[in-house]
């Protein structure tokens, strides 16, 4: 032993106390252990008991201490004193702030509740904020799904009662082939990484389908560098190959999907394309036992995939026949799609063949008997061990809804949804579209809205239109422009409010969405809209209220700021009524609680709404005596009852024998019970209900017991989505509620009840020879949109964002390291640094999302690389498509759901002289908070 080896204490004290709460460094919502020293946050690690992350934690989560202590934290309510956009504010008291807000909002509610547009961004309390907005009576409420991934969510719900991420996950323990389509890394973050690790350990294979080979795609065994916007075509080509070879799960399709449901085939009938239904309205199938018609859910019925039925001179054929007609067409042959997808035909065939090989030759059988909703007993669970995951990469296109549908149809024909080795839903999903509310938008001055804002439409009768057929919502959700806009269109609110179309509003009230920067298309245009004045010198959008914890770019554009807390200073509930954190094997929810008290004059936004709701006298927020019903959000979480026995938190409810999960009465100690249980609650799905959840009576009965719904509601997967056909039929002239003429052709094309592919809509309106290059963004694993930049540790990982350029374009332009390029779209130009990347689709450039920052924001130095070299691609994307010459402007969104089509962007690129900084340069905004310290050495213990 070296004589010099010093004595070392290898058991130093770690912390005084560990407080367990929920992370909010991205949308993933992992459990965290917050180590405290002398009352301060010393260290954050993952919670090993937590169902989401099981102890692991990503870079963002571990950097939470820097977020919590960021100098960009707002300190007190702010009232604008300079011009909008200048960033000049004075700090005011909460009483003054709430009085001001009440003075603006109370008269609106009295006469025109719709003149409040309340949009809550990356809100994780939507069941609460929507409840507040309902009480106010405005139809204009939504969160950020419209500019994020509503295509994925809506396509999943309509097709199979759930999509990916919060709805479902691959069966990581059994899957043998995992195919990942373009993804936003935080949807979801740690579980996907854990899953990839798990399948690699087992030797299972992973295929990455993404134009960009980074992150998850870098570790995929096979990489398919697809051309952006063509995923649907590639998927349907694989469907073509599989159907043509008969490599489909016929038994599964017959029993558990509407492949067997009969469809009217008489093109002259008003019922053309609709299901044959019995007197009870149930879709009909042919029962193989009798050869006769039977309801899809009849006891013991064995639905036939092939039987046709002729009645009253009309032939009805099963959905499966229609699928054969469509997908066996040469239009979907690999040779026909290869060039457009950028994937050789033989590769498409090989991938389809591999899916078939694994699904059918490597099938899994679990000896678990179960009973389906028809009363049919099954002695085994048959697994098709191929699984998929997808998110924004395929959904943020104008053909995203149909592409997501196509992916689900591929999963379903392989028999790989809700079976061992396939995709599994997470309770309280699956839940079919018919079990969700319909949208509500009926305004009554001085009173609550007629029901929940957001939901699922099932035909033209569910659209939110006024007597003249105009949209009743400011974002035009649920109008003919996007009939199935299940998450609203937050990205259209500012544009529509500025234009006064469909009407003018008075107050724009937003929470946690950086709509003057990285969350908006056409950033410069949005600045003009937010600051524009009318002929009287008044702002066109008269009042803007915003709540944020940090000095984001959006703060400067508001008149009144409610400063929010950091995630370690607040109560929250990660509720089953909202966006749950469950796992396939368990139902779970969780809380946040103030592990430290704020040291600034800030309040949790939800608690502010409890106060403001009471001041405005909103139903649900006042007691009978008119007093404030919920003192704060914690009070609401504990005491609010949505339905009998069902509240925001499902764990530790009061039962006859003590705390119980699922349904139960209010438990005044519920939050403490959560804290004592490490911040979450989980209850496991019974083993015999673990698969086949939509069809399994064991699962259905358990779901009712837990309070997910009030009566069993088994259903079958909707390969053919009849509501789409109803909108399409309306466009063909059927029915009383008719679309405007200019939308008919587009509705006929896009509202197809079986998945189709059409090119990104922008492609038709620009010169593709001039703008041949696809341009994308990805979210880095170590950053969550704009939040990460204020974080001293994370900004050292992603402090600026070059435009990554593939070899072909790099060489064609003679680029060299350190070069800059001018990148132009039909809408605008940027000048940015470039970097070479070989592992990239040959016609695609990309950059990291939301690294670029505006000078003056986030308490950063004005010379920060984020503001000088960092940039946004948003400047190149407009919320409207280029003019067609028809006098109309069309939204740059999916025509079915209204999802923002970020990834349809086409550009051209040329070498540029090296500018002083990335262009365009926006003027600096004045910071409402002081700059951060120069140096950090962050140790709170001794």
């Amino acid at each position: 032993m070296s004589l010099d080896q010093p004595h070392l204490d290898t058991s130093p004290p770690v912390s005084d106390e560990v407080r367990k709460t929920t992370c909010y460094m991205c949308a993933c919502r992992c459990g965290i252990n917050v180590h405290m020293k002398e009352g301060k946050v010393a260290y954050i690690e993952g919670n090993k008991d937590h169902p989401v992350n099981k102890g692991v934690l990503c870079a963002k989560g571990s950097a939470g201490i820097m977020q919590h202590n960021a100098p960009s934290r707002l300190r007190a309510p702010l009232k604008r004193v300079g011009e909008r956009g200048s960033g000049e504010f004075e700090e005011i008291s909460w009483e003054e702030a709430l009085t001001l807000a009440t003075d603006w909002l109370a008269p609106i509610r009295e006469k025109h509740p719709e003149k409040l547009a309340f949009f809550t961004g990356r809100d994780q309390s939507q069941s609460f904020t929507s409840f507040w907005a309902q009480g106010f009576g405005t139809p204009n409420y939504a969160a950020h799904g419209g500019f994020c991934s509503v295509n994925m969510a809506a396509a999943g719900i309509y097709t199979m009662g759930g999509a990916f991420w919060e709805f479902g996950q691959p069966d990581w323990d059994h899957t043998k082939l995992f195919m990942l389509f373009g993804v936003a890394e935080d949807h979801d973050s740690n579980p996907i990484k854990m899953g990839i690790g798990k399948i690699k350990q087992r030797g299972a294979r992973m295929v990455g389908v993404n134009p960009i080979r980074t992150g998850y795609n870098a570790v995929a065994d096979d990489w398919v560098g697809i051309t952006p916007g063509t995923d649907g075509l590639f998927i349907l080509a694989m469907v073509h190959c599989l159907m043509k070879a008969g490599k489909v799960d016929l038994d599964y399709l017959a029993r558990f999907t509407n492949a067997s449901v009969l469809v009217n085939e008489d093109t002259k009938s008003d019922e053309f394309g609709l299901f044959l239904r019995d007197a009870d309205g149930q879709p009909q199938v042919i029962d193989r036992r009798t050869g006769q018609l039977a309801p899809w859910n009849g006891k013991g019925v064995e639905p036939d995939l092939s039987g046709t039925h002729r009645a009253k001179g009309v032939t009805h054929r099963p959905v499966f026949h229609q699928m054969a007609d469509r997908y066996l067409s040469d239009e979907y042959a690999p040779e026909a799609v290869a060039d457009r997808c950028g994937i050789p035909a033989q590769r498409i065939r090989a991938l389809a063949a591999d899916l078939a090989r694994v699904a059918f030759d490597e099938a899994i059988e679990l000896d678990r008997p179960w009973t389906d909703f028809r009363g049919v007993k099954h002695d085994k669970m048959i697994g098709r061990p191929v699984s998929f995951h997808a998110m924004r990469g395929i959904s943020a296109h104008s053909n995203g809804f149909q592409t997501c549908r196509a992916l689900h149809v591929l999963q379903i024909i392989l028999g790989s949804v809700e079976v061992p080795g396939g995709m599994r839903f997470k309770p309280p999903y699956p839940k079919p579209a018919t079990a969700h509310p319909k949208p509500h938008g009926k305004v009554t001055p001085g009173a609550a809205l007629d029901g929940p804002h957001l939901g699922y439409t099932h035909g033209p009768e569910d659209l939110l239109l006024d007597a003249e057929g105009n949209p009743t919502r400011i974002d035009k959700a649920y109008s003919w422009e996007n009939p199935m806009s299940a998450h609203g269109l937050m990205h259209m609110v500012i544009s529509n409010a500025h234009a006064g179309v469909p009407y003018k509003i008075d107050t724009l009230f937003m929470y946690m969405a950086n709509m003057s920067w990285n969350s908006s298309m056409n950033v410069g245009g949005v600045h003009k809209m937010l600051t524009d004045k009318d002929e009287n010198g008044d702002y066109v959008i008269p009042h803007i209220i915003y709540s944020d914890a940090y000095s984001s770019e959006m703060v400067a554009y508001a008149d009144l700021i409610f400063p929010d807390t950091t995630y370690l200073e607040r109560h929250d509930c990660i509720s089953l009524l909202d966006r749950p954190i469950c796992e396939a094997d368990g139902v779970a929810d969780a809380i946040r609680w103030p592990v430290v008290e704020p040291d600034r004059d800030v309040r949790g936004f939800q608690s502010v709404l409890c106060d403001l709701g009471a001041r405005l006298g909103l139903p649900g927020f006042v007691n009978e005596d008119g007093g404030q019903k919920y003192q704060d959000y914690a009070d609401y979480i504990t005491n609010h009852m949505r339905r009998p026995g069902v509240g925001p938190l499902a764990g530790f409810r009061k039962g006859p024998d003590g705390p119980q999960g699922g349904r139960g009465d209010v438990n005044p100690n519920q939050i403490q019970d959560y804290i004592d249980n490490s911040g979450f609650w989980v209850e496991h799905v019974p083993e015999n209900a673990a698969y086949y959840k939509p069809f399994s009576m064991d699962y259905q009965n358990w779901a009712v017991k837990m309070g997910f719904y009030d009566a069993v509601q088994p259903y079958i997967f909707q390969l053919y989505v009849e509501p789409l056909r109803k909108f399409q039929a309306a466009a063909e002239g059927i029915g009383e509620r008719q679309p405007p003429e200019h939308l008919r052709e587009r509705l006929k094309l896009t509202m197809d009840p079986l998945p189709i592919w059409y090119g990104p809509l922008e492609d038709d309106q620009i010169d593709l020879d001039e703008y041949p290059i696809h341009a994308l963004t990805q979210r880095p694993m170590a950053m969550y949109h704009s939040w990460g930049t204020q974080n001293a540790w994370l900004r050292q990982i992603h402090g600026h964002n070059p435009l990554y350029v593939p070899t072909k374009i790099w060489e064609a332009n003679g680029f060299a390291e350190g070069d800059w390029a001018k990148v132009s779209s039909t809408h605008g130009s940027i000048v940015v640094p470039v970097a070479h990347q070989a592992s990239l689709n040959a016609n695609t450039v990309w950059t990291w999302n939301a690294i670029g920052k505006r000078k003056g924001a986030w308490a950063l130095d004005e010379k920060a690389t984020e503001a000088t070299k960092g940039f946004l691609l948003n400047h190149l994307i407009h919320e409207l498509l280029p003019p067609k010459g028809d006098g109309l402007r069309w939204a740059n969104s999916d025509p079915i759901t209204g999802q923002a089509a970020w990834f349809d962007l086409r550009v051209k690129i040329e070498k540029s002289a090296i500018p002083n900084e990335a262009q365009p340069v926006m003027p600096s905004i004045k910071s409402p908070v002081p700059k951060g310290p120069s140096d950090l050495a962050w140790k709170v213990g001794k």
């Binding site: 032993m1 070296s2 010099d4 080896q5 010093p6 070392l8 204490d9 058991s11 130093p12 770690v14 954050i44 690690e45 102890g55 692991v56 934690l57 990503c58 854990m194 990839i196 690790g197 998850y216 870098a218 570790v219 065994d221 096979d222 190959c241 043509k244 070879a245 008969g246 490599k247 016929l250 036939d304 092939s306 007609d325 066996l328 067409s329 590769r347 065939r349 090989a350 063949a353 078939a356 090989r357 170590a782 001293a792 540790w793 994370l794 050292q796 990982i797 070989a838 592992s839 990239l840 308490a859 950063l860 130095d861 690389t865 000088t868 951060g932 120069s934 140096d935 050495a937 140790k939």
Partner: protein, 253 residues
Amino acid sequence: MTQLPPPSAKKLGLVIDLDTCVGCHACVVSCKGWNTENYGAPLSDQQAYGADPSGTFLNRVHSYEVQPEEGAAQLIHFPKSCLHCEDAPCVTVCPTGASYKRAEDGIVLVNESDCIGCGLCAWACPYGARELDAKEGVMKKCTLCVDRIYNENLPEEDRQPACVRTCPSGARHFGDLGDVDSDVSKLVAERGGFDLMPEQGTKPVNKYLPPRPKDEMPEFDILAPYLEPIASDGKGFVGWLDKALSSLPGGAK
């Protein structure tokens, strides 16, 4: 100059799986957090909110592109920290004895109270695994979380380096590479674990597991039987369907 102890039987180190590392930087930040609050001086940051931020990190992830002769380019994520070499040149070069290799488990540490910040060790390290803390003026490096792995104040399951505990994809493994029967040694044997830059003669304890071969899916010809057509159009498909259905349980109609 500082002497190395005789080689220890126990050689604690990391095994890092380059096949599974997705490059998420979880290990980087978890390490930064733990080691800012624990062992020695905090890991400082300069211009933390300024124009050109830089700070001390004991573990960083680099990414490299590889262009095979045929096929698509690949991207390898490569986490790098001190490899706790058996013949650690950073120790022998140290003029004060501050750098040392522990006799009992082989962990290479810096005794900060003896470190004069001369930087010789960082020059001697062929891996660039040491960083001089700009604020404290002492050399910082991976401690293999020596204040966690034996720490009786932590639950036993948590007595592993912070980077290993946090790694979401399970790409980082910790154990005794001196014990051929340990899980990490078995992993190295099974997966062909390798030394980083063995030609440097430092005998690193940490090992890397190579990425599995990529883009080696069988040609379609081999898989062709799986797509043998049963029909060429919808009508043919329905004919096949009728036959196929009659062979399903439940039989002919």
